[in-house]
């Protein structure tokens, strides 16, 4: 027992003891955040930054289901983020921006695309999986560039209207930045809750089993292909949901949403925050976005600076920021909880 206590530093112990209150405090902060902007304690831009962080946190969580939990290193996850953005942009500029319709359609469209791409990609492993997902992502990118009658070509689909929510006369327009922030926060919380249920379920444990030892799981009788495909589809759909928010937030679906640099960026967020957890992606998205914002307003060479930061993370903090706050494994957590 004493050895375990020694492995946990004071901050980790404090967080474990006060887990509930930490969550409550963070939630309160998220809820009053727009007030800080309204009373000019923070500038108006910080609201957009917060929306951005939440969107990318959903996107990063969706990749984490593949990368952190299942051990599938996808380098084409922007395909579903971008596809979600394009489907939303197409629907809302031509048909409706009612979320009761657009959300299910985006989820369905991105899940279907993930099913088709995953059917081929999930048969491969390691570097091959990475290359196949990258290729599919770039394929969607080139379609977005060349099929301009539908996608708007290199300009993207512009003029995405604000979303609305509701039926008939009870149609609520989400037309202020503040309302959109609350909407994004709600989607983030729902996604977090759903993904938490999923990763803690027997299904989620099977995904961890695949990450640890795919062949052994097959020897136990598990058809791991199906589970990898299922993870790919669920991850794709959540990425699509993040894409929907992105298109509304920026009023545009742009080819950049599909480009491999977007895939790379979300991967870096996982690296910085810590893969294989759900809080890690949020931490990573916040850190990377805030750091980018901070650096790019101060130096032209901010991308170089970011690169150095990421190299430092890979070299010195493999588990990401989350590893500073939390015991390394579930077993350690449960034993730590016994002590407390």
């Amino acid at each position: 027992m004493a050895t375990i206590t020694a492995q946990l530093n004071n901050a980790q112990l404090w967080l474990l003891r006060n887990r509930k209150w930490t969550v409550v405090a963070l939630l309160l902060l998220a809820l009053i955040f727009p007030l800080l902007v309204r009373f000019r304690i923070l500038n108006a831009y910080s609201l957009s930054l917060a929306i951005d962080v939440l969107i990318y946190a959903i996107f990063a969580m969706s990749l984490d289901l593949l990368l952190g939990y299942t051990g599938l290193i996808s380098f084409g996850h922007a395909a579903f983020f971008g596809l979600g953005a394009y489907i939303l942009a197409y629907l809302s500029t031509r048909l409706t921006s009612n979320l009761l319709l657009t959300v299910p359609l985006v989820l369905l469209g991105t899940a279907l695309a993930a099913l088709v791409i995953g059917f081929f990609a999930v048969r491969t492993r390691g570097i091959y999986f990475l290359m196949v997902t990258l290729a599919f992502g770039q394929m969607l990118f080139s379609i977005a560039i060349s099929w301009s009658s539908v996608t708007g070509g290199s300009d993207g689909l512009t003029g995405v209207p604000n979303p609305s929510l509701g039926l008939g006369p009870l149609n609520l327009a989400i037309d202020t930045r503040e309302n959109f922030y609350f909407f994004t926060l709600a989607i983030f919380l729902i996604s977090f809750w759903l993904l938490r249920r999923i990763v803690n379920s027997p299904f989620g444990w099977t995904l961890r089993g695949i990450r640890e030892n795919d062949a052994r799981l097959r020897a136990l009788g598990v058809n791991t292909f199906r589970f990898k495909l299922a993870a790919f589809v669920v991850g794709g759909a959540f990425a699509g949901l993040a894409g929907l928010l992105q298109a509304h937030s920026a009023s545009i679906a742009s080819p950049e949403n599909l480009y491999w640099t977007t895939s790379g960026q979300v991967m870096i967020m996982l690296l910085v925050g810590g893969a294989g957890t759900l809080t890690g992606p949020l931490l990573g998205a916040a850190t990377v976005r805030l750091l980018q914002n901070f650096a790019s307003t101060r130096t032209e060479r901010w991308e170089t600076l970011m690169g150095l930061v990421f190299i430092a993370f890979v070299l010195f903090l493999r588990g990401g920021l989350i590893s500073l706050l939390r015991p390394r494994t579930t077993a350690e957590t449960s034993r730590a909880q016994e002590i407390i």
Partner: protein, 250 residues
């Protein structure tokens, strides 16, 4: 085909390039048998095991499991037909705890793998069964320990627990005492002896004491071919076997 045979291997050959690792091997394992496969290094024992489990595809020949031709079926399907196995080198979920390892196998057998929204931790049936299996192989105290940090012999025992968790009808044990100390070996033999008689065992083993204390039938492989097959005493008395294999030891 005999109706009591749980496993039937017919004219099985496996070539790796020009090398015939296994050449026209036919073996039959009766239901409830405790059969051992012995032979010098490179005799083709591991190849035969991997062909039976489905890790390798044979060049020629057929594998029947409970009367069904499984030659073309993948590993996981064969496992679901009641074939469990352990590995020569510990092959586990090293980053998870011993309990979490066993639970993965139990939740598959219980058909809970597709349960998406209820926490695995809160399923009492899963927890109880997994702990029961750990206790059965003597790892009750090690449940929450990460497998990577378990002693070698404990990892060997966990291999057995994982295989048992799927409730197989036939168990392939690939050198269960490999690399073990004499004390650990004794424990492992006792564990294997304690398995229910209804469970068919096919064991590859180097330790002759272990083989003769466990097996009621022995098959001897040499250069990819069967040179003897029968009751332990008959095999022990076989002059060819004594010359090429046992002779080296006595």
């Amino acid at each position: 085909m005999s109706s009591t045979a749980i496993l039937q291997v017919e004219h099985l050959s496996k070539h790796f390039g020009g090398l015939a690792a296994l050449n026209d091997v036919s073996v039959q394992v009766e239901r409830g048998a405790r059969q051992a496969i012995i032979g010098p290094n490179g005799a083709g024992k591991s190849t035969l095991f991997n062909l039976i489990a489905g890790e390798l595809v044979p060049t020629k020949g057929q594998v029947y499991l409970q009367g069904r031709d499984v030659t073309a079926l993948p590993v996981h399907t064969r496992a679901n037909f009641g074939l469990g196995r352990t590995f020569q080198r510990n092959n586990l979920f090293f980053g998870l705890s011993a309990f979490e390892n066993v639970r993965l196998a139990v939740q598959h057998r219980r058909r809970l793998n597709r349960e998406l929204f209820r926490a695995a931790d809160k399923n009492d049936l899963l927890t109880r069964e997994s702990h029961g299996l750990l206790q059965r192989v003597g790892l009750g105290e090690r449940a929450d320990q990460i497998v990577r940090t378990l002693a070698y012999g404990e990892q060997r025992a966990l291999e057995i627990a994982l295989a048992l968790a799927t409730e197989p009808q036939m168990l392939l044990l690939d050198e269960p005492t490999a690399g073990m100390s004499p004390a650990e070996t004794t424990q492992m033999v006792r564990l294997i002896e304690s398995l229910p008689r209804a469970l068919t065992l096919l064991v590859v083993e180097h330790d002759m004491d272990v083989v003769f204390s466990l097996a009621d039938r022995i098959t001897v492989l040499h250069y990819g071919q069967i040179i003897a097959d029968g009751k332990p005493n008959a095999v022990r008395a076989n002059p060819l076997v004594q010359e090429i294999y046992l002779g080296v030891q006595t």
